[in-house]
Symmetry: C2
Subunit: 472 residues, 2 copies
């Protein structure tokens, strides 16, 4: 790292655009979950795409590696610099303009630094909705969400970022600007470069802006809760819901009796939605964009539950009679993580297998782990419709957290990832690879897949200056 | 081309797997539209993925360029060898097994040589549907459809191949097999290599199999026809339909009065759907997968048309009262191409612009061309919902076809492509680039886009043996 480089960067970006002050930098050197703390020679905060491009060209000339960063709320350490301190953090947070919102076309073009919550509010003002949300919405930026192909609770109906990005602008490793912002529903002019960049975690190019899809506001919703004999039946219930309420199923979450009980213990005011206990529970939300369909949702929900009951897919069910009741049902789902954590140390896994195999996978993996690791309890809950569950393995009672996690916990995680791979699944359904799972990916991924990824990385970033040491 | 190579290939593939017989080869040396006729040293027809991989390794050793070919029904010459004769055609047609159909998971895994129609029939037997269809369904293969990201008439609701491919198997330039067949709804393990290969026209790898999405069979449909004052109103009508019939709009096609009259002149038995003439017409199809919703479709259609009428979006409309009437409405739409062709020579363009700009584009481009080229008539019809229209420019009366096409017609096409590019659109919405539009792409594409595509091509096919001279 030469002083020339920093001086040139300062001249390029101006006083607002570059800091080397340790106090200003501290918050951005540690990742969201506190797993990694690195160092950086500076934080650059360009004001626009041209400044990003100029900075990238400067870094190229001086061979300075770049760590792109948005809200710093990633789960896998992908936006945190390494400990050696030779990297520069390229923060996109100053680029926070909404360049345009087209209500008729239902699209919005945002710079990379726009915060998700801000986008939600802008869409709402236009009587529209951006249908992706997640816990970190107050800090997560559009650039980070695109670069990590973020998911959330509405993926079942609307897809992850990959499905919501209509256009993209990115600065490539040589400082050229790839302008793919214009949204075209049909375009067969060669390779889909948008899709190459989405989810590439800043290793192939720096996303500076995106054109995103908006959808109509919700005119009404109906939330229901069903007790079901097995995860297989829950899966059949989901297929039935998609048939009987096509285009209306916004959420479909599952949890075992164990998780429900954990929540009931944890939340003093919570009540069980159903009178009796059931092996599995499903939380289903139907939504409609227009008043006419919204008025019919309760009727559609009743027909769905009656049909499911006739077919033996559910044993009992209830439909929320008010928004308040609906909120209470969702609160149970959203409290599972803290409730399970309150029980004691647990290894958490963000996995997916083919949707139709999820019931069989859970039935095979849960007892296998509980037998192999006596005293543990394996719990799965989450987005059955996406084939993506949170797979928690809770430590035997009385174990010390740090020691258990570093020892047995680590071996358990390796076994979970081995099992997922054997079932053709993914060791990272939502949270990406970053630094956290890079070695696991190298260990478990298909060699041809790894070789192809590495060849693309080498082609688009020959000097290896874009987020090195992450992902590939 | 050495005799050693052909001898080794023959040994590798057996008598069924290789031919150099001119009579056997003739049909596969000319493209579907008869624009190009090339030569090839042989046609290889491997029986399975391993044979494809072995052949690719052999070609790599002998530096023999490969032209992958499915049903040879592409529109842009992408599967036709060049005139020099040094290439080998790699036909995937022998690999025509459906490896598995999972009715519960609603997926099917096909080898590349499975013909689209055969897949339709297999899905139907399982009471499901593969929701992509096009004119060449009796010859087009799954491998070709994936490699060209094919579209068709159901893209509005179900997307093009890109949206229907859940998994992919491909042989890469070094003969390694990239196995991405397992369908995962959520997977954030790095770059989406599936999406890199889809639409790459055999220039990055050879698609040998794909796992595809199936959808429920249709329980019923309602087809309607509306006369609308302008293309802007037709666009508003589409947005209204998507709001009032969410998830049910299967087709939305537009045509001008001129095209309707051309069809009425051409088809002796056809009758105008509406009593009066209108500047534009919209053909709308709603479909439902379940009986309950299907029974409500006429009511939904009436509500949609009444609302559109109140808002001044349409002046008149009719709902097909029977399947026979529905077929007659679709027949009008499907007869536009031959009816327009019967009028005389025309330059046809496969273009898209952002959906919301399509009305303004047509209003600007049509008079511009008719003024610049006196006596011509520009006609647009097709998939308004996809921002993709067939843009035909009909020659002035009395012109000789070949002479007009080679002279004025060529200049008109260049002007159409320039205008589309200026509007941020695509010169190839559906049919791909192949050999036909390679030079136009090089002339009009963003330099950063071209450079990125070329870098990826160079990385994944360093010797340039996969379908050279096509696309990039």
């Amino acid at each position: 790292m030469s002083d020339t480089f920093l001086a040139e960067a300062a001249r390029l970006l101006g006083p607002k655009g570059l800091t080397t002050d340790p106090a200003d930098m501290a918050a951005w050197l540690t990742d969201w979950r506190g797993r990694y703390t690195g160092r950086a020679c500076a934080i650059a905060s360009p004001a626009d795409t041209e400044e990003v491009a100029a900075l990238v060209r400067l870094c190229d000339r001086h061979s300075v590696p770049i760590v792109p960063q948005g809200g710093n709320s990633g789960m896998s350490g992908g936006a945190t610099p390494f400990e050696h301190g030779g990297e520069i953090i390229l923060s996109l947070r100053r680029m926070n303009r909404i360049r345009g919102l087209d209500p008729a076309g239902r699209t919005v073009t945002c710079e990379a630094g726009v915060i998700l919550q801000v986008l939600h509010e802008a869409a709402e003002k236009a009587d529209l909705r951006f249908p992706l949300t997640l816990g970190g919405k107050g800090s997560a930026t559009i650039g980070g969400l695109v670069s990590t192909n973020a998911g959330g609770t509405q993926v079942l109906r609307h897809g992850s970022m990959r499905a919501l990005v209509l256009g993209l602008e990115a600065v490539m490793a040589d400082g050229s600007v790839l302008d793919l912002l214009t949204p075209l529903k049909k375009d067969n002019r060669g390779f889909d470069l948008k899709q190459v960049l989405i989810g590439s975690e800043g290793t192939l190019g720096i996303v500076t802006a995106a054109t995103l899809k908006l959808v109509p506001q919700i005119a009404g919703r109906t939330v229901m809760w069903a007790g079901t004999p097995s995860l297989h039946d829950a899966r059949s219930l989901l297929l039935l819901a998609e048939d009987l309420a096509p285009g209306l199923v916004e959420g479909f979450e599952v949890l075992p009796q164990h998780s429900l009980e954990a929540v009931l213990d944890y939340l003093p005011d919570a009540r069980a939605p159903l009178a009796e206990s059931h092996p599995w529970h499903a939380l289903i939300e139907l939504v409609a964009a227009d008043e006419t369909t919204a008025a019919r949702l309760p009727e559609i929900a009743e027909h769905l539950l009656a049909t499911a009951f006739e077919r033996g897919l559910i044993n009992d069910a209830t439909i929320a009679a008010s928004e308040d009741q609906a909120e209470r049902l969702w609160l149970i789902r959203e409290t599972i993580s803290p409730a399970e954590r309150a029980i004691g140390p647990a290894m958490q896994h963000d996995i997916s297998v083919p949707v139709e195999k999820m019931p069989a996978f859970v039935e095979a993996a849960v007892p296998r782990l509980e037998v192999d690791w006596p005293g543990t309890r394996a719990v799965c809950f989450g987005h059955l419709g996406d084939g993506n569950v949170h797979f928690h393995v809770i430590a035997p009672a009385g174990r010390e957290r740090a020691e258990w996690e570093a020892g047995e916990g680590k071996a358990i995680s390796a076994q979970v990832h081995d099992m997922v791979t054997a079932w053709g699944g993914s060791i990272s359904a939502e949270h990406g690879i970053g630094r956290l799972k890079r070695d696991d990916l190298a260990r478990l991924a298909d060699p041809a897949m790894l070789a192809t990824m590495r060849a693309i990385k080498q082609a688009l970033d020959p000097k290896g200056l874009l987020n090195p040491g992450k992902l590939v």
